[in-house]
């Protein structure tokens, strides 16, 4: 187990190094630089700025400096936000994105498992058709449209009630998070519902369900203890990629609902070519996702003892 985790971590580190390198050189290949955004400066000031940020050195040397600093956990100072360290930006804004993401994931996993189980329970009957219809709608409508509609719905609801039940945008309280998290989790929820449904139907055909029925167990017990528990396994496998989709896809929702998450800074940084912020957020997200996928794989081993970790190595 320990050796397995070590190997996964090592391959994760290589992946992150590759992402960082590709991003670094990709970013520097883009014409222009972050100092271009500044007001018109004299060549002397520009030279001073370049020296201060280390941009006067050749790119390979900048790369080595970046690697050295990254290994020490330091991503430098933002180009566009004065005197703000990238580490501070991440520390301040990632918790916002993470909170939103966790809530969205809870909605997605809870809703997906529940609705998937319901469709399997009412197979080829009204609830099944209704839920699957909604699922198809949910995967076909772009998230920014849902975000807009969500905001519209809050406005209408508030004006209908005559007082402000939910805030339309912003961040701070749980009430701020509910609708954005729901919007954010909707696509994943639809996907998980589909997955859960097919998984439930597959489990229903297995021998141990027939055995359980033959033993005379109550349908309730069969459903919860035997069918549901086994059907959840594939859902757990895709949770890793789902976390990735939710955390990285979050910034549409952050944009529409004016939430100060990391996604917004990331897009801003890319648009302004803020080298240090781009590198910091990319490496941070990369590391986060790699860790999440490894964690899910390990958790999976605990949930399903049949899966031998050492086997999945080969």
């Amino acid at each position: 187990m320990g050796a397995y985790i070590a190997r996964r971590l090592l391959s994760g580190v290589i992946t992150i190094w590759f992402i960082a390198t590709a991003t670094f050189f990709g970013m520097h290949a883009v014409p222009g630089d972050p100092l271009l955004n500044d007001k018109a400066v004299t060549p002397e000031i520009r030279a001073n700025l370049e020296r201060a940020y280390g941009l006067d050195k050749p790119v390979p040397q900048q790369y080595l400096i970046f690697l050295k600093n990254m290994l020490q956990g330091d991503f430098g100072i933002s180009f566009t936000q004065q005197n703000r360290r990238v580490n501070d930006i991440i520390a301040e804004h990632f918790p916002v994105s993470a909170t939103l993401g966790v809530l969205a994931l809870l909605f997605a996993a809870g809703g997906g498992i529940m609705f998937g189980a319901l469709t399997a329970l009412f197979r080829s009957r009204m609830p099944d058709y209704l839920i699957m219809f909604l699922v198809i709608i949910a995967v076909s409508v772009p998230s920014f449209v849902f975000a807009g509609l969500g905001q519209l719905a809050i406005l209408r609801l508030n004006s209908l009630l005559g007082f402000s039940l939910l805030p339309v945008a912003g961040w701070g309280t749980v009430a701020h998070m509910l609708v954005p998290a729901l919007v954010l989790g909707l696509g994943t929820m639809a996907y998980l519902t589909r997955l859960m449904r097919s998984s439930m139907l597959e489990v229903a055909e297995t021998d141990y369900i027939r055995t359980a029925r033959a033993k005379g167990l109550t349908p309730r017990r069969i459903f919860f203890r035997h069918q549901l528990r086994n059907a959840i396994l594939p859902v757990v496998t895709v949770l890793g990629p789902a976390i990735a989709a939710i955390t990285t896809g979050g910034f549409v929702v952050e944009l529409v609902f004016a939430i100060p998450g990391l996604g917004r800074y990331f897009v801003q940084a890319v648009q302004q070519l803020d080298y240090t912020v781009i590198m910091g957020t990319t490496v941070f997200y990369g590391a986060f996702l790699v860790l999440m996928v490894i964690a899910v794989d390990i958790v999976y081993g605990f949930i399903d003892p049949r899966i031998q970790v050492s086997k999945s190595l080969s």
């Binding site: 992946t15 990709g26 014409p31 995967v139 076909s140 772009p142 920014f144 449209v145 519209l152 648009q271």
Partner: protein
């Protein structure tokens, strides 16, 4: 042991006409069978006709509806769908009617008294609303307000329009008039302070167009002169699906936007599926070290943060003046998306390579190109086609998403995503600007998703026995 050696007499040709040996039904090839099964799937068939309809809409539409998608019609900004709208032709330089009087002496000042007889001079239309009112005794000035709703009290009179000298008791409002109802309020100002009493007049503004503007846009008959045309009602350009915030025709923009969205949505998957097929096929077929190295590289490309590289590629490939940004987006999408297909194809090829029929073909002396073209490729095709149909909605979403955050196509090139981006700003007042492009994206993605489902069901051999 006696061994019997058969001779020619022991064999006898079968009578092919014999009952039971004949194949009664026409034999179907794999693809004929897939088509037969797909045809019996009503949902998939409906989706297929939607896709064909969309292609017709975007390819034939602009030939029939010849409206420039970038043409701005500032007389009709953010108009909801309608078949035709009429406008009153007004003369170009109508002088504002001014009503003046000498200020009434401040002897009988009554601050509680509201101005009387707030009235309209002439027809109120979008080229000007003329108001007049009776003088109030002892005022320093008049303050005129305009509101979009009936004012609730003296603090809710709306937009302050003008402060007028006491001898001026008329005003011409020209400020961004739309065809809707307004509430004008007049308040007296005494010693620099506004009184609480006010008079409100609801005014319904009519659509109007200046004579020269109508002439310029070719809305008038050839022999029209200002004398004959002014005061008549003419038909404005029709916008069946309304207009956007710059007065551009939504229908034309949707048609041209479909070209962008569908072009990227269909071409990008087509290209990267072919690249993925070649890459994955080569890796899977050759196996060994080469396979390992190639797949390692594909894994790295998959691990790249998609959005970041999408944007970086787009910037790196550059945009010359007058370019739409479609090319760089297509290229970026292809460069980042092929590994998923490559993995899929490689897995399939690895599996097919071990099949008995491949071994049999090899034993009969089949060459590698023959094996690949005749046995491996046709067997990969099914999975590939399904993954292609599912890649199309993803690509359409990506385009829409990038255009939505302003990193997609460059204005004025329309695309459904950039139209959504424009529409979401005016969502609360003019929902149709968001709803139409969003509807088109959703229906397209829905159609491709259902078609993909149908294709998968039609091709999946495991489901054969069930039906």
């Amino acid at each position: 042991m006696v061994s019997y050696i058969p001779t020619a007499e022991d064999f006898q040709a079968l009578d092919s006409a014999r009952e039971g040996d004949r194949i009664d039904r026409p034999s179907l090839s794999y693809w004929q069978d897939v088509w037969r099964r797909l045809r019996s799937n009503r949902r998939a068939l409906a989706s297929l006709s939607i896709v064909v309809g969309l292609l017709l809409f975007t390819l034939m539409g602009p030939l029939l509806w010849r409206v420039d998608p970038a043409l701005q019609d500032l007389e009709q900004v953010s108009q909801p769908p309608s078949l035709g709208r009429y406008a009153l032709v007004v003369a170009d330089n109508t002088p504002a009617p001014t009503v003046t009087h000498t200020a009434i002496s401040s002897a009988a000042v009554d601050r509680e008294q509201a101005a009387r007889n707030l009235r309209l001079l002439g027809t109120p239309h979008s080229e000007g609303v003329n108001l007049a009112w009776d003088p109030l005794p002892g005022v320093d000035a008049y303050q005129l307000y305009r509101h979009e709703y009936p004012p609730r009290d003296a603090d809710d009179l709306g937009l302050p329009m003008a402060r007028l000298m006491p001898q001026e008791i008329s005003y011409r409002d020209l400020l961004g008039l739309e065809t809707r109802q307004y509430y004008y309020s007049i308040v007296g100002v005494y010693n620099g302070k506004e009184a609480r009493a006010y008079t409100t007049l609801p005014v319904v503004v009519e659509q109007a167009i200046l004579f020269s503007e109508a002439e310029y846009r070719g809305l008038l008959s050839g022999d029209a002169t200002p004398e004959t045309a002014v005061g008549s009602s003419i038909r404005l350009e029709s916008h069946p699906l309304g207009t956007d915030y710059l007065g551009r025709d939504m229908l034309a923009r949707l048609m041209w936007g479909a070209r962008t969205s569908l072009f990227i949505g269909i071409c990008a998957p087509l290209i990267f599926v072919i690249i993925g097929l070649a890459y994955g096929g080569l890796a899977g077929y050759s196996g060994g070290r080469l396979d390992g190295a190639m797949m390692r590289f594909a894994d790295f490309v998959i691990a790249l943060p998609f959005l970041l590289f999408m944007i970086l590629f787009k910037i790196a490939f550059g945009l010359g003046p007058g370019e739409s940004g479609i090319g760089p987006m297509l290229l970026a999408l292809v460069l980042l998306s092929w590994p998923a297909t490559a993995r899929l194809v490689r897995g399939q090829v690895l599996q097919i390579r071990e099949e008995a029929y491949i071994a049999a073909a090899r034993m009969m002396g089949a060459t590698a190109p023959y094996l690949v073209l005749r046995h491996i490729l046709p067997n990969v095709m099914g999975v590939l086609l399904v993954s292609l149909t599912f890649a199309i909605p993803t690509a359409i979403f990506t385009e829409a998403f990038l255009s939505f955050i302003g990193m997609g196509v460059v204005p004025p090139t329309p695309s459904w995503g950039s139209m959504c981006n424009d529409g979401i700003r005016t969502m609360l007042s003019h929902p149709h600007e968001l709803m139409f492009p969003a509807l088109f994206i959703s229906v397209t993605v829905l159609a491709f998703n259902l078609l993909g489902d149908g294709l998968r069901d039609a091709m999946d051999a495991r489901m054969r026995s069930g039906t």
